[in-house]
């Protein structure tokens, strides 16, 4: 693992830039643990102060320090994105691989469920959930709901790769070597699907973070736990743009964009590294 990281850092500029951006984001989230102010307390500092030596990113109209507030916000937002991505990856991987490999009625059932999720209009459903659940709606619950709604496209993608893998001779050889279905899926097919998993993870995180921000900005969220969307919501509530409190909006957006771009670059470079063709080329089998 260490050697892989060293290779990537040494030979891949995308990876270097990406890991730098993600490092900034991670350091920010880690700083939340040493924040001098509790995240939900208001009017702990003088409001509406522009960036200065005392308050690097300025303060909000609610008397909060933007920098320290942002550390909590990015931590929650990132955790939310990772959670949604993880859960939905597990779903799309297991369903996609199984449907593609097994075929027949298993495939038909799984794919009809899959297509149902693809055609469900997402945004109204999320708002519906908010109105039904109201007070019991937490970030965690939203993550689970989004994971359930966010696996379907990628499962289809994975299924198509699994179907082509199934037709390859080594799959038959694996069966006749006595491997179980689980072994074939995990040991033989998974390595070919990993590049898809990586790039879709990144897409999925962007999608879920984006939706979370959207929902929070509109107020359809638990606005008291600080997230990037939550900060923007309060900034809007206090008409920060009109009032010229640009730092309340600019810094959260800059940080979330850094996270997006960092994730994207990491996904691209990792993809190139674990892509079966590139792996074979490094092992010396690509020239055939």
């Amino acid at each position: 693992m260490g050697a892989i990281l060293k290779d990537l850092l040494k030979y891949n500029i995308e990876f270097r830039v990406g890991s730098m951006l993600i490092a900034i984001v991670l350091v920010m989230s880690a700083l939340s643990f040493v924040s001098p102010y509790p995240p939900s307390d208001t009017f702990v500092v003088a409001p509406d102060a522009p960036p200065s030596a005392a308050h690097w990113f300025g303060t909000t109209s609610r008397g909060q320090d933007v920098f320290w507030q942002l550390t909590f916000a990015i931590r929650n937002t990132l955790a939310f994105g990772v959670l949604v991505a993880m859960l939905s990856r597990v779903l799309s991987l297991s369903i996609g691989l199984l449907a593609g490999y097994k075929g027949g009625w298993i495939d038909r059932i799984l794919m009809s469920v899959n297509d149902t999720f693809i055609v469900i209009p997402l945004f109204p459903i999320l708002i519906l959930f908010y109105f039904v659940l109201r007070d019991s709606m937490s970030t965690l619950l939203l993550a689970v709901i989004m994971a359930c709604l966010g696996w379907a496209y990628d499962a289809r993608l994975i299924r198509s790769v699994a179907m082509s893998l199934k037709a390859r001779e080594f799959t038959q050889v694996s069966i006749y070597s006595g491997m179980t279905t689980r072994e074939i899926l995990v040991r033989e097919h998974l390595p070919y699907v990993m590049p898809i998993v990586f790039s879709t993870t990144m897409n999925n995180m962007n999608w879920s973070i984006g939706l979370e921000v959207t929902l929070a900005v509109l107020g359809f969220m638990d606005i008291n736990s600080p997230t990037i969307g939550g900060m923007l919501y309060w900034a809007n509530q206090h008409t920060a743009v009109v009032a010229g409190i640009w730092w309340w909006i600019a810094f959260p957006i800059a940080l979330v964009v850094a996270a997006f771009v960092g994730l994207f670059l990491l996904a691209v470079s990792m993809n190139e590294y674990i892509d079966p063709r590139s792996r074979l080329a490094r092992m010396g089998g690509g020239a055939r």
Binding site: R168, F170, Q172, V173, S174, G178, M283, G284, G285, R288
Partner: protein
């Protein structure tokens, strides 16, 4: 769509032989192979192995059936996962088909590899791309041997092996028949290699058998017009200039 239509033949348990099924693409020979392997069930008719219908037997105990009937495929570079070490498939076959106790796995695999002219030392820890097509096809045959099968179904096993190595693989099949008492179904479109190793021969066209019989007899003097056409179309080193003369005669 009917891929295989009203095909009947049988093979005797105690008389090992190489039965060749010859046909061009679309003749149904591969479909037939997959039915014998129990991958597809026939829509009508029966395939009986050791007195029991294949589809019933596969449904009852696939594992035991696979130990006795093993396949060999066309493309040696695809027979093993390019991202995995190749010894894994041999070890796995030895472990799963219970021929060997834990300690014996390596010995069993080495023996099987020895029978095809390789050794475990040559194969251990290596990836498929590190071996040549001929070596990979040998390794694939060795893997099939590990479970001590009674029947091997080889679907175009040499069509992607280099010409200079092809005959060594073909000869290997005759040797395995003799030494292990194996029955081999050799599926091919190549009449010349079929002539060399088969005892009996079936020529298929569009899912039906057009001619069958003792291999040398059929290939030396085919009776069915299709078999004759097939034989005439085979280009060998002796066909030198057949098209050249046809042009010159017209000019």
């Amino acid at each position: 769509m009917t891929a295989v239509d009203d095909v009947s033949f049988s093979m005797v348990a105690d008389a090992p032989e190489v039965l060749t099924i010859i046909g061009e693409s679309g003749s149904g020979k591969s479909t037939l192979a997959r039915m014998i392997l129990g991958i597809h069930a026939p829509s009508s008719g029966r395939i009986v192995f050791e007195g029991e219908e294949v589809s019933a037997r596969v449904a009852r105990d696939r594992h035991a059936f696979m130990a006795k009937v093993q396949p060999i495929f066309q493309n040696p570079f695809e027979s093993f996962n390019p991202l995995k070490k190749l010894d894994r498939y041999l070890f796995m076959t030895a472990e799963r088909f219970g021929r060997a106790g834990r300690g014996n796995v390596e010995r069993v695999c080495d023996e099987a590899l020895g029978a095809v002219g390789l050794s475990l030392a040559e194969v251990r820890g290596r990836f498929p791309h590190e071996l040549s097509g001929g070596q990979l096809q040998r390794a694939a045959i060795a893997r099939a041997l590990v479970s001590r099968p009674r029947l091997i179904v080889a679907d175009e096993p040499v069509s992607m092996v280099d010409a200079s190595l092809r005959m060594s693989i073909v000869n290997l099949f005759s040797r395995l028949k003799r030494e292990f008492g194996l029955t081999i179904i050799y599926i091919t479109h190549d009449l010349a290699t079929a002539y060399h190793i088969s005892d009996r021969l079936i020529i298929m066209r569009r899912g039906q058998i057009v001619e069958t019989g003792e291999a040398r007899g059929v290939l030396s003097a085919p009776k069915h017009p299709y078999s004759q056409m097939l034989k005439d179309a085979v280009l060998t080193p002796d066909s030198a200039g057949i098209f050249r003369s046809s042009v010159q005669s017209r000019l």
